[in-house]
Every structure is written in structure tokens, then in C-alpha cells.
Symmetry: C2
Subunit: 239 residues, 2 copies
Amino acid sequence: MVVKSELKLIKSLQQKKYRNEHGLFVVEGKKSIEEVVNSNFRCYGIYVTEPLEVNVTKDKVNLISRKELAQISSLKNPNGFLGVFYIPEKINEFQSDWIMVLDGVQDPGNLGTIIRLCDWFGVVDIVCSTDTVDCYNPKVLQATMGSITRVNVQYKPLDAFLKSTQLPIYGTFMNGDNVNTTQLPEKGIMVMGNEGKGVSDAIAKLCTHRLTIPQYGGETTESLNVASATAILLHEIRK
Amino acid sequence: MVVKSELKLIKSLQQKKYRNEHGLFVVEGKKSIEEVVNSNFRCYGIYVTEPLEVNVTKDKVNLISRKELAQISSLKNPNGFLGVFYIPEKINEFQSDWIMVLDGVQDPGNLGTIIRLCDWFGVVDIVCSTDTVDCYNPKVLQATMGSITRVNVQYKPLDAFLKSTQLPIYGTFMNGDNVNTTQLPEKGIMVMGNEGKGVSDAIAKLCTHRLTIPQYGGETTESLNVASATAILLHEIRK
């Protein structure tokens, strides 16, 4: 039995403001919930329309009606499984050789894909500008496919962070050095910019190296999607 | 003045069945409409809530109400610009050195991103299995950002097509040769599989080469997203 106030709380977590206020976020989908349950993230509660065998104490699993699930889900077609977890404590140390820096990435699907890519390529430290989309946004989490539990995402003013580092800072631009012929070092920072505007001027000035992924299509082609560009750069970092 | 039956026709184009029946498809967004208008695609009509200067005869531009636009748009928040274009004649010849083959790609966003990538990397020939999502699906078109006008997408049974080619056929698998140490030829076919199941067994048998993008994260990481993998493989083809 789930009381109304609890449903209201969970529904409010679709908004960043309330996620931060309560220190909680929502994951939907059986497989994603299992991934988060089996990580070191703490579980607040699981809400399902059919019994689910999952690695949490039984009192945390709540059987609810389809109607109740529809109320708290952010999906048009809820899939029957919703989990609420505590947002983990911030880790301020860096663990990986390369650090991914995101300067104003806006699209939740892009951020989710980038987090999944960073996980795949073992670049677990991700530093986001404060105007980058929140990594606990439901649409971001849907695209991460559980990878959120294995990376360390921080939000902070990029300017101060980049000024404080001794690492080489690589940025992606339209007119940089060809990434195919550039030797990347063992450690560094890779800056990816906003979908429409790219890396902001203030941050561009702090980049010590400028990279470009060369284009082979016609001249009218749109720029590469930021998640596609990230895939290629992470691949180059790891070669 | 747009009559009801015309609005009904346009709304029906959200479904593949009616797109094929009428030979028409819908593009939303000012920038995307301009890209399609300036390509060799024929325009059926433009529907806008405010005047738009665009490269078509004036009688094709229809000023409609926000309410009418909401009726025909596939977007939750219509952006004020909707264009209807004729699906172009099929081209059965190949124009590029490499051919991208998609075996059951289901997610519209993934297909859109792949089309945009193929355009960027100049791999303009894309052959899709008949169960791959339709390239004139509104969500696909949103992700292609106009690239649809510069590629040649065909739908056909892959089995017969791959049996008929003399080109080397590269497929992406979990246990293939490391793409970082494999020399790719000047011409070939690259097969990408379904999001969950990868390349189907029947098609896997026809691949003459098996490639893998090596993973660097923990062992529990989900596989690479198919669009991310495509970005990396196209980049390798063009290096």
C-alpha cells in the first residue's frame, strides 16, 4: 500500500528542483533498476505492477496499480517497473586518466549517450558546466542504460576548474587539427560543446589544443551530433 | 485557407502506410524545411503559423492557425513550421565506395543519427532490411537534420542483396577482429545490427569479416549504442 503523499513525492522527482531537494531520483525499466540495485547506489523504494525478484529487502518493493504507476511515471507508456534511489554523495577526486568535460550539452539523449560511451571507454570522470542538462533527468537515465552507476558526474563552473588543472585541454572545433593525424597523450581533458553553439568562447580560450573530425560529405552537411563526435574522440583516446 | 480533408491527409502521414499510399512525407522545423526545399525533393506544401520566406512558389505556402498545426504535427510542442514533400523515386544504383547496411535498426533516433553520420562521412548508399524503421518516420527525420536529402536509402531483403555482391562484407560483433588493428579496404559493405540482438544469424553468415570495437570500461557495461558504433566505424573507414 502506497500513500498519496509518497506518489506525489515520486512524481515531483521528474523536476530537478525536487530531485535536489529530496536527494532522490527515478529509474524506470526492469533491467535498468536491476543495474542500479546491484551497484553501490542506495535504494529508496521499488514500485511495480507485478511482483519482481530483485536484490533489495522485501519491504522496499511496493506493488501498485497501473493507474498509480501512470501517475508517477515520466513515460507515455510506463513499462511496469519504477525504482527510486538516493543521489550518491559527490566525489571530488578524479579516478581516470582522461576527464570528459561537457560545456552546455542540452539534449538529455545526448548526455545519456555520452555517459554510456564514457563508461564503455573507461573515462569515468565527467565534469559538466552548470548549464548542462541534469544527469538524473529521466530521459538522460533512459539513455544511459545503467551506466550512471559506474561514472562520476560533477557539475561545476568550468572556467575555474580548467584554470586549476595542469592537464592538456583538448577542445573540438570546426577549424582545429585533424584528429586522424594528432597523437593524443596518455592523460588529458576532452571538452565537448553545446549542440548548436559548440564550445563557448570563454572555455575555448582555455583549450590548449584544438581538434577537428574531418568531414567527407558535401559542404552543406550539418555538423556532427555531439554524442557521435564523443564516440569518435573516445575511440581515438583509447587507440 | 486549408480544407479539413487536407489536414486529415497530412495527419495521416505520421503513419508509414499512408506515407507509402500517398508518396508524401512530413518535415517539421524551419531549418529542416529549408534544407529539403533547397534539395531536389519536390514540395507538396508548406504550413506555417507565421509568414515564411522560402524557396517555393507562393501558392504552396499556407498560413494556418496554431490549432490546425497542433492537429497535423507529430510534435508535442509544434514549432510553427511544417512541410510536406514527395518521397523521391528509388535509386537502385550505388554511388559511394562503401555501402552501409542496417539489419533491423528499430529506434528512429538511431536511424536518424546514422543517416546524418553517413552524410557527414560521404557514405551515401544505405541499404536497410525490410524490418528497419522507415526513414520517413517523423522522429527519424527530426534526427537527420536534413541529411535525408543527400543520402540514398533503400529497403530490401538483405539476404539476396548480400549474396549478389562481390564486395567484402564487414559486420560488427562482440567477438570479431579489433577494429583498431584491422586495415579496411577502399570499398566494402558495413553491416550494423539491431539495438538488442545485433546482426541476425542469417546475415552474420554472409559477413566475410567480423569486427569488434574493444571495450575499456568494466565488464558489466552495456554494449555500445548502434549509432555510436556506426560513428566509430565510419571514422575508421575514412581514416
